[in-house]
Amino acid sequence: MSAPALAPLLAALGALASHWRRRPGQLAALLGGLAAATALWSGIQALNAHARASYDAAARELGGGARLVAAAPGATIDEGVFAALRRAGWSVSPVVEGAVRANGATLRVIGIDPVSAPAGLAPGVFGGGSGDDGGDAGDGGDGGAPGGGHGSRAPGEGDAARDLAAFITPPGLALAAPETLAALGLSPGARPRAQGGRPLPPVRPAAGAPPGALVMDVGMAQAALGLEGRLSALALAGPVPPAAADLPARLGLSMREAPAGADLARLTASFHMNLDAFALLAFLVGLFIARAAAGLAFEQRRPLLRTMRACGLAASTAAWALAIEALGAALVAGLAGLAGGRALARALLPDLAESLNALYGAQLGAELAPGPAWWAGGLAMSCAGALAAALGGVWSAARMPALDSARPTAWRRAQRRRTRLQLAGAAGAGLAGAAAFGALGGLAGGFALLAGAMLSAALALPAALDLALALAERAARRLGALAHWAAADARQQLPGLALALMALLLALGANIGVGAMTEGFRRTFEDWLEQRLTAELYVRAGDPAEADALAAWLAARPEAAAVLRESEARLRIGGWPVALRGAPDHPTYRERWPLLSAEPGARDAIAAGRGAAASEQLARRLGLGLGDELSVPTPRGPWRLRIVALFADYGAAEGKLRVNDAAMAAHFPAADRTRMAVRADPAAVPALAAAVAAHGPGAPQVIDRAALKARSLRIFERTFAVTAALNALTFAVAGAALFAALATLARARLAQSAPVWAMGAPRRALVRLDLAKTVALALGTSALAVPLGVATTWILVAVVNVEAFGWRLPMHVFPGQWLRLAALAGLTAAAASLAASRALSRTPPATLAKVFADER
């Protein structure tokens, strides 16, 4: 297709535009469809990009990729080791990292030495990331840099020097991202208290600080975390001295890359892919509206195109004009869609942030700032969507003969041909999805299977409805002329409504599939929580000493039947973060702790320290099964454990291993033992909880069973809030598609209904029949959405969830939900049909009679 001359192109564009001036509703459908598609897609992209940027910020903060000297997993380094390495010529800088609870949130504490820290460590806080200039750092403003210097930068003068001094001298400074302070409700200078009552340094906003973190001097961090005299790692700030290269190994230390953000990106990849998949589905549903409007507009403009061709317009120029028109619509709708997408992302961000925090411990910044790539990407998607919607018209225009037949479209013949093509496409899409699932496997394969199933069902829908209407037409013959006409007319109406009904089918299928998965998950999760929360009270002390004192105090209380102390160490196995949990051998666990599967004598093997129970997601990630052996790295060398049981651990991204507490203490002497579960008489729980909360110098965290369950369920609800919102929006867009299709067809419907009215059928009866036809089509689509929805549920439960989260849920179906959705679809169709039927019921007879004079 060669580039056309300008004059005929402009003339063609002007003539084509006149169509839209006469049909603003159709134009609104086209632009609205594209805008909705772009908004849903770009909104999710903004959220995903924002989350990934937050992970990157977190990764940079601890020098993602920087070299660290570290102890064995779960262990810390004595400060004396730091001194020994420095004396031996190692240029290392101390790092302390941990988590504290403050103001109701868990915060990551990062302690650094601003003077010796290497460039790249905490770069965002100290002057914008590059770390190679000190000039604009430390201005004491929102950037909050304490001294403009770390490692390569010497403390400056004036404000910078004062800030550095404030950072390293008591009470110090805790630098945090402004959104973190806002979320905590802290104003600059406030001193939050950590769990245990320890005061933290005064906070100061720092734009470059990672979300959810407090960056402070290493000494302040040690105090905040109760790690006096201990370090988490040593950051390498210079070359390794050859003479003492083996010193770390001799001290039981090893060199490794800082993994900080990589884990988050890896753990959350599936979560974001899930969102991408839903966004793509929503985009496609929006595109159906645009496609329906563009297709109808092309058919209505066929005579115009024919006339222009007869007047000397080249076929290629006509095609160019249609393509340019589509791109123009894409730009207008794309900009509107991007604005909508940004608003959508802002609305969904709090739920997404809480989901990611609950599932992965990830912290997201509160401010969305989509970059130029996002704007460009959104417009590109809008243009691609518009071209896809207009492709059929462009293709037809390019091939249209100058003497194109003026006869009205032979719809019946065209429908037969279209049906054959759609059925072939349906079979192809289904087979392609299944083949991709077999070839790709994993999450990508699961989504390919899902996409294949949805596309296949959508393409098969018109043929299935046509068959159902053909049977209805046969049956309706006995009911009278009007019923017979209504069924036959519905068949004829089908091609015009097919795209909107396909969109409705996809929305219903996704709603049924996701709804059943979510509801099934909710039930499974509630049952599981009921069993899993075995104790009446859960307590976490501020530090080990306080935990020991608290455990002794609790053991002496008559209302506490048992105090079950649990220990925890965090390590990496097979490249994945793993929480190793130790629990005592107690009837509470033996009798009530739920297992998915176990070897005979599993509980005895765990109690003896020979075996471990692995969480379902860890077992899947590492390919572990019952009877497999696992080597666990410990400060005292590898610990070989047999996997004797598997347990469900819904809602946790991190893999878990459960072992006996005493055996764990032998391998991890420095493990965190601040958690405990308390068995008590339920009636005594409130008083006991209050007593625990008031115990000791610090204020231990304490939560009873009911509150913990409620909190878990609340997190569950928020986790699925984004999915539910996308589902609802997709359904709304499908409803809009149906509405737009019926509205644009209303004028054409008039030409079909008017002759029947002229032959003596009352208008009220025609309106009722129109309503019944549309509702019947929506209900038929709902019925066909049920198998699609059940298939979607199965793919989500058996493939996507397993790959994305690592757990397999039981499959549930909810017929009540099908009926509710069918009723909703029927009501949506009725509302859309009634609006369209107004054309028939309210058109004055004189206008209606003109139908017989107009060319049809």
Binding site: M759, G760, P762, L848
Partner: protein, 237 residues
């Protein structure tokens, strides 16, 4: 069979209202065939639409087969139309979703007066045998025209209203279609009022009425009429 008295109809227009009918009156007896001529936009279609109850006059009266049409509500007009009136339009307005047989019998079924034997005989006289299962888009223009004529007669109406029924046909085809229309309406004993531009075709009917400037007048027939009819009286204006 049809009695129209002092019909008036005015349409709003940007400059000034257009008086489409200015006191039109006419009477047509059973079995009589009357042509209605006039220039484009003279109000022929408006008059037919008002007689059929598709449109309402500002004032005046229409009686079909003894029943007053004016003042009836939409539902009642629809009942009268489906039982007593047959319509043939230039654009034919066949129902594209129904086949030939269903189109032919549609109004009869709608009126609850389906007579399959009569419809089958009609099909034969219209030379449409073997085409019953075809759909309108699969027929030629002439075949479609014959289906439209058959549909207007299959329920045995008292009055057939035809609006340029041969407008889209060539002369020979138009003659054949008119032959058929006249023959069938005569056999059915129905009155026929046919709007046409063609004086040649109009001359083949019993009488001719001419509509000009909203005024209806009896015009010279110019050909062999079938029977003397009641005179039309133009009034008003």
């Amino acid at each position: 069979m049809l009695s129209v008295t002092d019909l008036r109809k005015t349409y709003p227009a940007p400059d000034r209202p257009v008086e489409a009918l200015r006191g039109a009156s006419l009477e047509i007896g059973a079995g009589e065939a009357v042509a209605l001529t006039g220039e484009s936009g003279s109000g022929k279609s408006t008059l037919l639409h008002i007689i059929a109850g598709l449109d309402e006059a500002d004032s005046g009266s229409v009686r079909v087969d003894g029943r007053e049409m004016s003042g009836l509500r939409d539902g009642a007009r629809a009942r009268l139309r489906r039982a007593r009136i047959g319509l043939v339009f230039q654009q034919l307005n066949l129902i594209p979703s129904l086949n030939v047989w269903d189109n032919l019998t549609f109004q009869a079924r709608l009126a609850g007066r389906e007579d399959r034997a009569f419809a089958r005989a009609l099909l034969g006289r219209l030379r449409l045998e073997g085409l019953e299962r075809r759909y309108p888009e699969e027929l030629s223009g002439g075949q479609q025209q014959r289906v439209a004529i058959g549909r207007a007669l299959a329920h045995r109406p008292a009055l057939v209203l035809a609006d340029e029924p041969t407008g889209s046909l060539d002369e020979a085809a138009a003659d054949r279609a008119l032959d058929l229309l006249l023959e069938l309406t005569r056999d059915a004993g129905a009155a026929l009022l046919m709007a046409t531009h063609s004086l040649r075709l109009a001359a083949r009917l019993d009488r001719r009425l001419h509509l000009s400037g909203g005024v209806l007048r009896e015009a010279a027939c110019g050909g062999a009429g079938r029977a003397a009819g009641m005179s039309a009286a133009g009034g008003g204006g």
